[in-house]
């Protein structure tokens, strides 16, 4: 496939200006999020220090630890110190887990990323297939059935789907695992935390199958609402595109229904759905918090819940900032992809 895209064609000033605007708003958003989290959780009742020490601790012990974690200074001072550290890549130390926040967070990030992306792929495949089927067999029982199924899938959030899946495939038909990332019995030394990826690269497909078996249920739970949205939006977009003149013209050239849907309508129908899907994907990533908990999946979300329960302030901050970064990164990727795929934007 020829690609007529060369940098020389880009109206470079426009792209540059928009990128700078984007980066600026991103920083403001991240900064705002950091401020909110910082001040909100400083109001949290409950003393994390006290939770860490054995019952017989003296006040002096508590004070010493307080100073160690910088909790004796004013809130604004703490924020400035924290911010200074962040700029240098130091996110502080976790109070409950006694390790650098950055290490902890980066250690769990791959698990959540793998889960989210698996969910995204499932959603795109299912949603796309339903949209195409609904368009191919439109105005009939099949489309009506798809619409009803979609309506239900859309109305029920990932949490409930997770529970349904736990019941169906954990209890009724125990095909998949409903807890953890990997079977404890499997003894394997992972170099990275990207279990799924690494097991494929190292050609250990037995391990890979085990991991997929653990990931499939949580990923599916996350995917179902997104698949429904994709199916609905894409089908709508496809059906509208099918009325356009160039599609009719293609029919007179002798092309059949399947060709017309996939080669004439689909490439044009996909673009408008792309941005909305991007936003929905960030919601999906947000959903990993409770889904990971439900399936005891050792990812970022699960760690986040524990962090809140333990009032682990530095860890909470680190995780929230990371989530915020992920969301902005997703938005950025969507924008770039859209600009790349749209011939009108590509050539200015």
């Amino acid at each position: 496939m020829k690609c007529g895209f060369s940098l020389g064609n880009w109206p470079s000033m426009l792209i540059l200006r928009r990128s700078l605007q984007r980066i600026l708003t991103t920083f403001i958003t991240l900064f705002g999020a950091a401020v909110i989290v910082f001040f909100v959780i400083r109001v949290v009742p409950g003393n994390p220090i006290a939770m860490m020490l054995p019952p017989g601790a003296t006040d002096a012990d508590i004070d010493r630890l307080k100073t160690l974690y910088g909790l004796d200074k004013s809130i604004v001072e703490q924020f400035v110190i924290w911010l200074g550290g962040v700029v240098q890549g130091d996110f502080g130390t976790s109070i409950s887990l006694r390790q650098p926040v950055l290490d902890l967070v980066l250690g769990r990030l791959p698990a959540t990323l793998e889960l989210s992306i698996m969910a995204l792929i499932i959603a795109m495949l299912f949603g796309g297939a339903l949209a195409l089927a609904g368009t191919r067999f439109r105005h009939g029982k099949i489309e009506a059935a798809i619409d009803v199924t979609n309506g239900v899938a859309l109305s029920i959030p990932d949490f409930l789907w997770g529970l349904v899946l736990v019941l169906l495939f954990g209890v009724l038909f125990p095909i998949f695992h409903i807890s953890g990332r990997i079977s404890p019995s499997l003894d394997f030394d992972f170099v990275t935390s990207f279990y799924l990826f690494e097991s494929v690269l190292r050609l250990r497909f037995d391990i890979w199958a085990d991991i997929v078996s653990h990931m499939f249920m949580p990923a599916l739970a996350l995917a179902i609402p997104l698949a429904a949205i994709i199916a609905q939006l894409l089908k709508q977009s496809l059906k509208e595109t099918m009325h356009l003149d160039y599609v009719t013209l293609a029919r007179t050239k002798g092309y059949g229904e399947n060709h017309v849907i996939t080669r004439e309508a689909l490439p044009n129908a996909i673009l408008p759905t792309l941005t909305l899907v991007g936003v929905q994907f960030t919601f999906l990533v947000g959903g990993t918090v409770i889904i990971e908990r439900l399936f005891s999946y050792e990812g970022l979300g699960n760690m986040a819940i524990d962090a809140v329960i333990n009032r682990d302030l530095p860890l909470i901050q680190g995780i929230v900032i990371l989530f915020a970064l992920i969301f902005t990164a997703v938005n950025l990727i969507v924008d770039v992809t859209y600009a790349f795929l749209n011939p009108r934007l590509r050539h200015g």
Binding site: G4, H139, Y246, A250, R251, T252, K253, P343
Partner: protein
């Protein structure tokens, strides 16, 4: 005489609704240009769609035959019809701004039929595309072939659509008001181009329009339609000398004349409209 297209008693209606085409009949010989004329909603576009098989779902054909090259198109299966039209027919659409796929380059859109139906090689097809662009007087065919539709003007896009229609040497082309969406200056050029191409390739043309001026320049025969019924069917020369039907005469009189603009803006008289409506109603009663 070589009759390519025979439309006999073609009738169509909205599903469970009113009639839209009332027993339309006409012939088109090979290489002939026939005009289908009428006001908006008279059904002229619908005839073209019925022939090409692109009627919308809501409209169904309730009777009649469409003989193309000795075959009744209405008796064919969907797949067969598609194949026939792909081989022998083509469409010049009305709006050049929406009739080209925005995500595909121009070249492939021109050569679709050549590659897909006639099974030409890609390189041969591309060469033919450049030739065709030359025939429609588009400068720099090399660049245009690789361009996307949004990079070109409306006039250029209409030329490309014309080139696309003639690409596979069809026997019959339906031109559905191809100049209506263009501005006046470009209209003249496009009309001239269509006539030129039609003469060169010897293709039969069914030219749908509401403009009698256009008809006088390009058509050899014409059918005038009112509410889906053919009111007059004659040679163009005879028509402009003096139409036989009152409605047709009124239409002719209503066409603004450049030479005498003031007096020539005459609407169709109410009596004539009522008369022709009564004709249609009588037809419907006859049917029922």
């Amino acid at each position: 005489m070589n009759t390519l297209l025979k439309v006999r008693n073609l009738s169509a209606r909205l599903r469970n609704g009113p009639a839209l085409l009332r027993s339309v009949s006409f012939d088109v010989a090979a290489g002939e240009v026939r005009g289908l004329v009428g006001e908006s909603g008279a059904g002229k576009s619908m005839i073209g769609k019925a022939i090409l098989g692109t009627l919308p779902r809501a409209i169904q054909i309730s009777g009649g035959e469409v003989w193309l090259d000795g075959e009744d198109l209405l008796q064919l299966t969907n797949a067969q019809l598609r194949q026939r039209i792909g081989e022998k027919g083509a469409l010049i659409p009305q709006d050049p701004l929406t009739a080209l796929n925005p995500s595909r380059r121009i070249g492939p859109q021109i050569t679709d039929r050549l590659v897909h139906i006639l099974k030409w090689r890609r390189s041969d097809a591309e060469a033919r595309a450049r030739e065709l662009l030359g025939e429609v007087h588009i400068p720099d065919p090399e660049r245009v072939v690789r361009s996307y539709p949004h990079e070109l003007s409306g006039g250029m896009r209409q030329r490309i659509l014309i080139a696309t229609a003639f690409a596979a040497e069809p026997k019959l082309i339906i031109a559905d008001e191809p100049t209506t969406a263009l501005d006046v200056v470009v209209q003249k050029q496009i009309l001239k181009l269509i006539k030129e191409m039609q003469t060169r390739h010897g293709t039969a043309l069914v030219f749908v329009t509401h403009d009698l001026g256009v008809v006088s320049k390009i058509c050899q025969t014409l059918s005038i339609l009112y509410a889906g019924k053919v009111i007059e069917d004659t040679d163009v020369r005879d028509f402009f000398k003096g139409p036989s039907h009152a409605y047709a005469a009124a239409l002719l009189a209503a066409t603004p004349k450049f030479t005498d603009p003031e007096s020539s803006l005459m609407p169709v008289p109410q009596s004539v409209i009522e008369a022709v409506r009564e004709e249609v109603a009588a037809f419907d009663r006859g049917e029922a």
